[in-house]
């Protein structure tokens, strides 16, 4: 791409003789066509689900999907006005992942005999609409990401409050052992921790940009690494304590790993000091090992991870490996090319539409489908890192990297848990899994990355190629 360049364009010089530095229309037009492809894939997935599982086409859900597509194009149009230079790949990738998720949730609904307005798929569509509207609002309201820098500590406070909400008596709800939900009445409706990860990324970026000198300059050398002074350990210990309390009080290993990993990566990028990573990993692994010995639910997760097919683990009534093994059976059933939409039995695995949606997709779309989905995530993350490379202000760079990495890490924790790379923990798969809070959070991340990428291209500090 030679869209942003300081030198004259070699070919196709405009007839007016004016040197065109940027071609934002071209970016948006590319996005438009990619979005059309994404919407076509999503519509095809829903129709294939209906043909595969019901042998007939039901137009109601196709129409609801079309409504979502309209919203996505609404975001696209908004960007033509307020973020003309934004990255053209992020929105189509998020759209196709969101659509594949809806198709699979719908497919599980059919298997469970659920339909109508109360079904999980319709709720997911409603939440997707809310999430995309939130993304449009974000991109319209935040015209310059540096505004967020001003609210660094407010973001930190918001993150803490959001994390504490599920522990408030009367408001918090426990779902399959983890106390990470808030709700009203009997229904758990929202996981505030999902939104907290954005607030944390903003807070970490702002805080690290302000304080990185003291975190990176001074220290003593040991084993070839420069270790920080004891009094500079404060922030690391605070975040570690926060993660450990998530493990202990909210009983959520995945979220703790997500927050702590996010912090470590941003700390490393900000300070260039590998010693922070060594210290942090030591602390976290130490904490996790102690937790695996003292907390039953963590110990079970570790034992299931190491030997899931052991009959004793498999038959254990609570905290056994049944779900993990069912997921493995599902993935194995899919094989290389999958059973096809509606042809497998993903409904045999517990929570096939949320924590285990990747196993459901792996069963019906096969290894080929899993590779395609992982490639989409990888592309999404790479576009985010690109902002980090090209950004002109350190806050923007750090925030871009943080937001992209949090998506990558979340995918790794969930898919790695399902495929036995790491112990299984309950986290949502970004954009795919059923769950409103996760959708809203991830679509806001899309909006923020779009805003950052627009700023990067809009105010080129140096030549960006590629």
């Amino acid at each position: 791409m030679s869209d942003v360049t300081g030198t004259p364009v070699a070919t196709g010089t405009p007839p007016t003789g004016v040197r065109r530095i940027r071609m934002p229309q071209k970016l948006r037009n590319l996005e438009f066509w990619l979005l059309l492809v994404a919407c076509f894939i999503n519509a095809a997935a829903i129709v294939l689900v209906q043909l595969g599982a019901m042998r007939r086409i039901d137009t109601q859900l196709v129409l609801l999907g079309a409504g979502l597509s309209a919203l996505v194009f609404g975001l696209h149009i908004a960007m033509r006005f307020v973020a003309r230079d934004a990255d053209p790949f992020l929105l189509p990738i998020a759209t196709v992942l969101n659509g594949l998720g809806i198709a699979m949730i719908y497919r599980i609904d059919i298997a469970n005999g659920e339909g109508g307005w109360e079904s999980a798929a319709v709720r997911q569509i409603a939440w997707s609409a809310i999430a995309i509207i939130a993304a449009i609002a974000t991109i319209l309201v935040i015209r310059n990401h540096r505004v967020l820098f001003r609210y660094t500590y407010l973001a930190g406070l918001v993150a803490i409050v959001l994390l504490l909400l599920p522990l408030v008596p009367g408001l918090g709800r426990e779902v399959s052992g983890a106390r990470v939900w808030i709700g009203f009445g009997d229904i758990a409706t929202f996981q505030p921790g999902e939104i907290a990860k954005i607030a944390l990324a903003v807070f970490f970026a702002g805080y690290l940009v302000r304080n990185r000198d003291s975190l990176s300059m001074v220290g003593t050398k040991f084993l070839g690494m420069k270790f920080p002074r004891a009094r500079d350990l404060g922030p690391l210990l605070v975040v570690w304590a926060l993660s450990m309390s998530v493990i202990v009080f909210q009983r959520d290993l995945g979220t703790a790993l997500l927050y702590f990993g996010l912090f470590l990566v941003m700390l490393y990028v900000a300070t260039s000091r590998i010693s922070w990573v060594v210290l942090g990993l030591t602390l976290f692994v130490g904490g996790a090992l102690i937790a695996s010995q003292t907390l039953d639910y963590v110990g079970n997760r570790f034992a299931n991870w190491l030997d899931p097919l052991n009959p004793e683990r498999y038959e254990q009534e609570f905290g056994g490996s049944y779900q993990l093994v069912q997921g493995l059976f599902g993935l194995a059933n899919g094989g290389l090319i999958g059973t096809g939409w509606g042809q497998g039995r993903p409904d045999l695995t517990p929570v096939p539409q949320s924590d285990y949606i990747i196993a459901s997709l792996g069963e019906e779309l096969g290894l080929a489908g899993v590779f395609a989905i992982l490639a989409l995530y990888l592309l999404f993350v790479a576009r985010g890192f690109r902002i980090g490379f090209a950004g002109q202000d350190d806050f923007g760079k750090l925030l871009g990297v943080g937001l992209a990495f949090v998506v990558a890490l979340q995918v790794f924790i969930v898919v790695g848990g399902v495929t036995r790379v790491i112990p299984l923990t309950g986290l949502t798969t970004p954009f795919l899994a059923a769950g409103g809070s996760s959708l809203v959070a991830n679509w806001i991340i899309v909006a923020l990355l779009l805003r950052l990428s627009d700023t990067v291209r809009n105010h080129p500090r140096l030549v960006i190629d590629g």
Partner: protein, 484 residues
């Protein structure tokens, strides 16, 4: 900062590569092992998702699948289940299938290699996959007649076609209803199965081809007679000493003829009379003269010590090796460690009826694809020649005499020449006898070979004998099929 970013990007890339590897390991490398895990319900449901082909008798299904509204999609139904269970077997949702359901599973479930293109074609054309149908050789009249004739006895009846080896009837009792093991509630299947397994009458046995194997008793004298005639040193007129009792050399064991006394009058008895009257002492003498090797060789030519797949696996009938003289003497009238299934004795009779050639027994006539194209057709095949045609002819006459004027008189049918041999085998000092009949009819043009086994002395303990209980059953079945 960009140097650190680059490293973080590489780490993120490595994280994704790890996921690609881990999903490949599960979905490709370990996929078949995971599919084979007995806890994998998907594999089980998969095997039921195909409409399993029917098993047909004379075009009428005795096992078929009908749609069901549960996870398994199809319910297997066995029409006249107890009557045909030794042929069909059953396929449970947990545990292993039996009978043809097991041995022809690949065809019935549409997985056999010869159905590959048919399955592919159905996949492309959008038709539901379907298994092949199996037409068995069973003659419904013979099967029903055998069922009725065996009544409430514990035992088995097997009818074969001597010239081809086709199995026309196979009944075993007591039996069970395979439908009770085909229900989709695995706990219920297990409970039913455990109940059948614990039943002292062993209804799960297929006594026609296995179960607790019985000594053949006097029906084994056919094998010894064949060995004698084949040796060229004996004819039906060869004579043996005729004492009322025989003490086996080097032992205290005394052999007596059934009913005591000598074998007919006179100081000597011919081989023909010994077989006709089924006397033990002349055969003990003959056995020791022939030696165990000669008897074993002849037995093996008839199929002993070999496994037959019909195509369902059957138990091997045995004639042991390394016997001393007393043991050989006992084996010569089917005692000692000789064990035989009714199927094996049917092979002996059928070979005699078929000019000496043993035909491989088979239950299946034809396997047909869902599009009615034949996949496999039954072709008669020879196991081998057991005896010469001349020996066979001689033995037919000897067996006809046994029925017309000998120990198998209760198998006589007016107007039809029946060849036969009875057996009454001892199981232990005071255990009930095992009763046998094996033979064929019509003797001049054998259409049906039949073997009847009745265990537990037919309820009469040591009072029952082959001609009293087994021979009339054979007669009843032969009458039914000959009058068809």
């Amino acid at each position: 900062m960009n140097r650190e970013l680059k490293r973080v990007s590489i780490i993120a890339l490595l994280m994704f590569v790890t996921l690609l590897v881990s999903s490949t390991i599960i979905q490709y490398v370990q996929a078949s092992a995971l599919a084979a895990d007995p806890r994998n319900a998907r594999t089980l449901y998969e095997s039921y998702s195909v409409e399993r082909g029917p098993i047909l008798v004379d075009g009428t299904p005795i096992a078929f699948s009908q749609p069901s509204d549960d996870d398994y999609k199809f319910q297997r139904v066995y029409a006249s289940g107890p009557l045909y269970v030794p042929i069909t077997g059953y396929i449970p949702v947990n545990g292993e299938a039996t009978g043809l359901e097991r041995s022809l599973n690949d065809y019935l479930s549409g997985q056999s290699s010869s159905q590959f293109f048919d399955s592919l074609n159905r996949l492309i054309s959008g038709q539901d996959p379907m298994g092949a149908s199996v037409e068995v050789a069973i003659d419904p009249v013979a099967q029903q007649a055998a069922w009725d004739a065996l009544g409430d006895y514990t035992g088995a009846v097997i009818v074969t076609e001597p010239s081809t080896g086709r199995i026309l009837a196979m009944v075993t009792k007591p039996t069970f209803d395979p439908n009770t093991l085909a229900v989709h509630d695995s706990a219920q299947v297990q409970a039913t199965y455990d109940g059948l397994l614990a039943d002292p009458m062993d209804p799960l046995f297929n006594r026609a081809t296995g179960g607790d194997m019985n000594p053949p008793g006097s029906v084994f004298k056919l094998v010894v007679t064949a060995a004698a005639l084949e040796s060229g040193r004996y004819t039906p007129e060869s004579t043996f000493p005729n004492p009322p009792e025989l003490t086996l050399p080097g032992t205290d064991a005394v052999v007596r003829n059934s009913g005591g006394g000598t074998c007919g009058g006179g100081s000597t008895v011919t081989l023909a009379d010994a077989l006709r009257l089924s006397c033990n002492i002349p055969f003990a003498e003959l056995g020791m003269e022939l030696g165990d090797n000669a008897i074993r060789e002849q037995a093996e030519k008839f199929g002993f010590n070999s496994e037959f797949l019909i195509p369902t696996a059957t138990e091997v009938s045995t004639y042991p090796s390394g016997l001393d003289d007393p043991q050989t003497a006992l084996s010569a009238f089917g005692q000692g460690d000789v064990r035989a299934t009714p199927l094996q004795m049917a092979l002996v009779s059928a070979a005699i009826a078929n000019g000496g050639i043993v035909m491989n027994p088979d239950l299946v006539d034809q396997i047909t694809a869902p599009d009615f194209s034949p996949l496999e057709s039954f072709e008669p095949s020879e196991y081998g020649r057991a005896i010469s045609e001349q020996t066979a002819n001689t033995m037919v006459q000897m067996m006809v005499n046994g029925v017309e004027n000998g120990a198998a008189s209760n198998a006589r049918i007016d107007g039809v020449s029946v060849a036969g041999k009875t057996g009454t085998a001892e199981n232990g000092e005071s255990d009930p006898y095992t009763l046998w009949f094996t033979g064929f009819a019509p003797a001049d043009n054998p259409q049906y070979a039949i073997t009847v086994l009745v265990e537990d002395g037919g309820g009469l303990g040591q009072e029952g004998y082959g001609n009293l209980i087994a021979a009339p059953i054979a007669k009843q079945v032969l009458e039914a099929v000959l009058n068809k």
